[in-house]
């Protein structure tokens, strides 16, 4: 049964039981090559149908999700589930399905995902030349169908070629990532070269210790991508309602960050794998600013959060929580070499992980640097520093931007789950902490 037939069958079953519903079926072919120590540790492949059902009755909301064959068994439980619930404060009637399909399918990616035949591509990417390296390479082909009682009959296709490598030179390492809807070996090789460059530079430099305190810090696109994900989370109306947003109390039009910061949600950008012409309620997506020149432009809504908070859907529906599709940080005018010159004296951090909030409402957080991290003096990296923490307030550090790079990178990895196009950023007075 094709994914379209599966969606139609599921919608027929649901519609015989419930009047208001959406059915979403995603058929996914996915091949992942995972590397470590310069070897391929495992090649994984998946072929699966992921079925989601949203159902509402008398203002009560139920959601089913399943990866299983027997649709009837799962769907028949819906009426019983809804009968026992109470009307939801989240409920809003399904909106008009204004979305139109936008597809992008790269043949090379789709074929690799379907067949698992990637030996030639691995050669072309040059992974055997990286030396001691770890990472992963994804080939994903996704076909999505959305059917709803609001009249939605939508479907689209997308592909994703993304990955990341962590290159080791002795005890030092550099890590970088790429993402695209196309098979672009040049993009991947550029990211791999960046990881090699950082690892090799790091390996040449002595290690120095620093004291905790305030530093001028140059953040790589890997780190900017990670932190911008947190800003997009804070701009998610669902997170606001759940009490987990440092934008609580802020209104569209408030100057929250530095005028150098502009962030867009870009669902219509088919060069990044998160694109879609419609959201999970069938509403047309649109590219929109989340932050423009430091001004907060508004929360990301689905119809439910919009009704609850007073507003309009922004075409960012998940069925319960809104979501961003692709994120893009506007470039500045500083060329790559100029960023280090302007940093002059400070730290250049190239990767991070484990971002955690002490206080979601005030934006107090910390995150730990990993891989290459440089002490820069007179615009030159002169030493390495190991695993320091940024421990600060999110709104504060993004109010302290001194410069933004003109060159941007397309990032998607373990710590940047939303495909993001991001530049380098230079910030002042960033609080750096580390063990004694």
């Amino acid at each position: 049964m094709s994914h379209v037939e599966l969606a139609e069958k599921t919608a027929r079953l649901v519609s015989s039981l419930i009047g208001e519903y959406m059915v979403k079926v995603e058929a996914v072919n996915w091949l992942m090559v995972k590397m470590a120590r310069g070897e391929i540790t495992v090649v994984q492949s998946w072929r699966k149908n992921m079925i989601g059902i949203y159902a509402a009755k008398d203002g009560k909301i139920g959601v089913l999700s399943f990866e299983a064959e027997n649709v009837e068994d799962v769907v028949k439980r819906l009426p019983q589930l809804l009968a026992k619930l109470q009307p939801s404060p989240f409920y809003a009637p399904l909106p008009e399905p204004t979305g139109k399909p936008v597809s992008f399918r790269d043949k090379a990616v789709a074929e690799a995902a379907a067949t698992g035949e990637v030996s030639e591509k691995l050669e072309e990417l040059g992974i055997s030349e990286l030396g001691d390296a770890a990472g992963k390479i994804d080939f994903v082909h996704r076909e999505t169908v959305l059917l709803g009682s609001n009249g939605a009959e939508l479907g689209y296709e997308s592909t994703s070629f993304n990955g990341y490598v962590r290159v080791f030179r002795g005890e030092r390492s550099g890590q970088w990532s790429w993402t695209s809807t196309r098979y672009e070996p040049g993009l991947a090789r550029r990211a791999m070269s960046k990881a090699v460059e950082l690892a090799e530079l790091s390996a040449k430099l002595p290690r120095e210790k620093i004291e905790p305190g305030k530093y001028r810090v140059l953040l790589s696109p890997m780190i900017v991508g990670n932190l911008v994900d947190s800003i997009a989370d804070a701009a998610n109306a669902g997170m606001l309602i759940f009490g987990m947003s440092f934008l609580q109390g802020r209104k569209p039009g408030d100057q929250v960050f530095s005028p150098s910061l502009t962030i867009h949600d870009k669902p219509r950008d088919t060069s990044l794998p998160g694109f879609s012409g419609f959201d999970d309620e069938g509403v047309a997506t649109r590219d929109k600013p989340i932050v423009e020149e430091g001004v907060f432009k508004g929360f990301l809504h689905n119809s439910k959060t919009a009704k609850l908070l007073g507003g309009e859907t922004t075409g960012n529906a998940g069925w319960i929580m809104p979501r961003a599709f692709n994120l893009e940080v506007a470039p500045g005018d500083m060329k790559p070499g100029e960023m280090l010159e302007m940093l002059d004296n400070g730290l250049y951090l190239t990767n991070n992980w484990y971002t955690r909030f002490q206080n979601y409402l005030e934006g107090l957080f910390s995150t730990v640097s990993r891989d290459a991290a440089f002490i820069v003096r007179n615009g030159e990296p002169v030493a390495c520093v190991e695993r320091v923490r940024i421990a600060d307030y999110m709104p504060r550090i993004f109010s302290s931007i001194e410069a933004v790079g003109s060159e941007r990178w397309q990032i998607e990895w373990w710590e940047v789950r939303t495909p993001t196009r991001a530049p380098h950023m230079l910030m002042k007075d960033v609080n750096i902490s580390l063990p004694s």
Partner: protein, 475 residues
């Protein structure tokens, strides 16, 4: 819902062997969940999910291949075998050392956690009503302090597996679990704070009472009140610290359990969850004689419970640190082969779409013999950190940070005024070396531990007693 015939899985293993595999494993894996989401005393909605399918893992020519399918039809399963074999063949030329499965006590067994109150016997009405009652029991407003958002997520699940492999394993299991997590957002004047908490165990609906979820929520409201209304700035610099079991449990998970995962030490997770200081650490001393850390999947009622791992190996307690010395690792059969030891059954997969990798189960610091009062009595000036919000650790599990949500000054052996956001930032060696006394209590906490690619969150417990640390740094 029906399960596939184990003979079908065995036939897939045979098929993989006939296609050139030197090892083959087939795992049927089903996870059913019911989730109820409450916000501020109203039920936002409910959801059910079913994830079921078969995972195939094979070794061909020293390469490891994995494939998974949500279809249980023979044709689809046989195609999945072909894909796994083809994947392994593509990996093989890149292997300097062929992947092998080391020794392990693979079993033939069937086990199940028998709940006192099976989830299916409890109506949704009762579950909804109990959740709303817990919310009504909270004192959300007083003296200008107000908890404005309470989000509560109830998740019950039943995990069923059938594992067969070419080395003779045949293990069938059923483990029901209950997990809740909640977030509370509170304000007092200009100050705001959150408390996020997760509570869980294996068993049935009886865990709602047994784990005292209502009591935990009330206590967390109190923590927020103390943090926002009463707490002052903490001292900074070197000071004695007493840590509560919540922080101790997390710390042993992060800086004893994770760095002792053999795949991490070998670098297999280097680009994702990172490596381990143990890759290059030459000393076997990591802490004081008071430090012994265990991981035990077989603790009854635990959130990380299992009796056989996902390679069909029989599980038991494993010692990681003993009296301050590094003594053990967590192994699956792949890492056991590299180290020339026997697997200690640490292979776990989140679901049918996930490969089994080395994971913790229930990790804890072994209790000593001090009462809480005895831990305090020798502290002239110090800080007691009871609960945390923010934490993180670097990618080799050396530098770590825990920031107190509820914390108190200790003065002359007694608890004094509360302090806010005291940040303990230490290396692993400092952490374990500074411990000079360990309490006789033992409390466990639930977590969802993340690792792997695609990311696999698996249920774990972590725990410990109260401990006393001498001269550590607060930021």
């Amino acid at each position: 819902m029906s399960k596939p015939d184990p003979l079908l899985l065995s036939s897939l293993v045979e098929k993989a062997l006939s296609q050139g595999a030197s090892y083959a494993e087939a795992r049927f894996h089903r996870v059913r969940t019911l989730q109820i989401l409450m916000i501020n005393g109203a039920i936002l909605g409910a959801g059910e999910s079913v994830s079921e399918g078969v995972a195939l893992r094979v070794i061909v020519g020293g390469g490891l291949g994995f494939s998974a399918t949500s279809s249980l039809r023979r044709e689809a399963l046989e195609r999945a075998v072909q894909r796994a074999v083809a994947s392994a063949r593509s990996a093989a030329p890149y292997m300097r050392r062929p992947v092998e499965m080391g020794p392990g006590r693979v079993g033939r067994a069937r086990y199940a956690v028998e709940p006192v109150k099976p989830f299916e016997n409890m109506s949704l009405d009762v579950k909804v009503s109990d959740i709303l009652e817990m919310y009504k029991g909270l004192e959300l407003e007083r003296n200008g302090f107000r908890v404005g958002n309470v989000t509560f997520n109830y998740i019950e699940s039943v995990e069923e597996k059938i594992i067969v492999n070419s080395d003779g394993a045949h293990v069938e299991s059923t483990v029901p679990r209950l997990m809740v997590f909640y977030n509370m957002a509170a304000a007092s004047g200009e100050r705001k704070a959150n408390r996020w908490n997760q509570i869980g165990g294996s068993g049935g609906y009886e865990l709602m009472e047994k784990l005292d979820i209502a009591g935990n929520m009330k206590d967390d409201v109190e923590s927020l009140y103390i943090n926002l209304v009463k707490a002052k700035e903490p001292p900074r610099g070197k000071i004695d610290v007493v840590l509560g079991p919540e922080v101790v449990g997390l710390a042993v998970h992060e800086s004893a359990g994770h760095p002792s995962e053999a795949d991490r030490i070998l670098g297999r997770e280097a680009a994702q969850a990172g490596m381990s200081f143990r890759t290059t650490y030459k000393d076997d001393v990591i802490g004081s004689e008071h430090v012994t850390v265990m991981d035990d999947p077989t603790i009854p009622g635990s959130y990380g419970f299992y009796l056989y791992d996902d390679e069909g190996v029989a599980a038991g307690p494993r010692v990681i640190y003993e009296k301050g010395r590094i003594v053990g690792m967590l192994h699956n059969r792949e890492t056991a082969a590299v180290y020339g030891v026997e697997s200690n059954a640490a292979a776990r997969a989140k679901d049918y779409a996930s490969e089994p990798i080395v994971r913790m189960a229930n990790t804890y610091l072994v209790p000593g013999d001090y009462s809480f009062e005895e831990l305090l009595e020798d502290v002239r000036e110090g800080v007691y950190i009871k609960k945390y919000m923010e934490w993180n650790i670097d990618d080799v599990r050396w530098g770590q940070r825990y920031v107190g949500l509820e914390a108190y000054m200790i003065r002359n052996g007694e608890l004094a005024e509360p302090v806010r956001d005291a940040a303990l930032e230490v290396t692993t060696k400092e952490f374990y070396s500074s411990i000079d006394a360990v309490g006789k209590d033992l409390t466990f906490f639930a977590g969802t531990c993340g690792k792997g690619e695609p990311a696999q969150g698996v249920p774990v417990w972590f725990g410990g007693p109260h401990i006393r640390m001498r001269g550590v740094t607060l930021r």
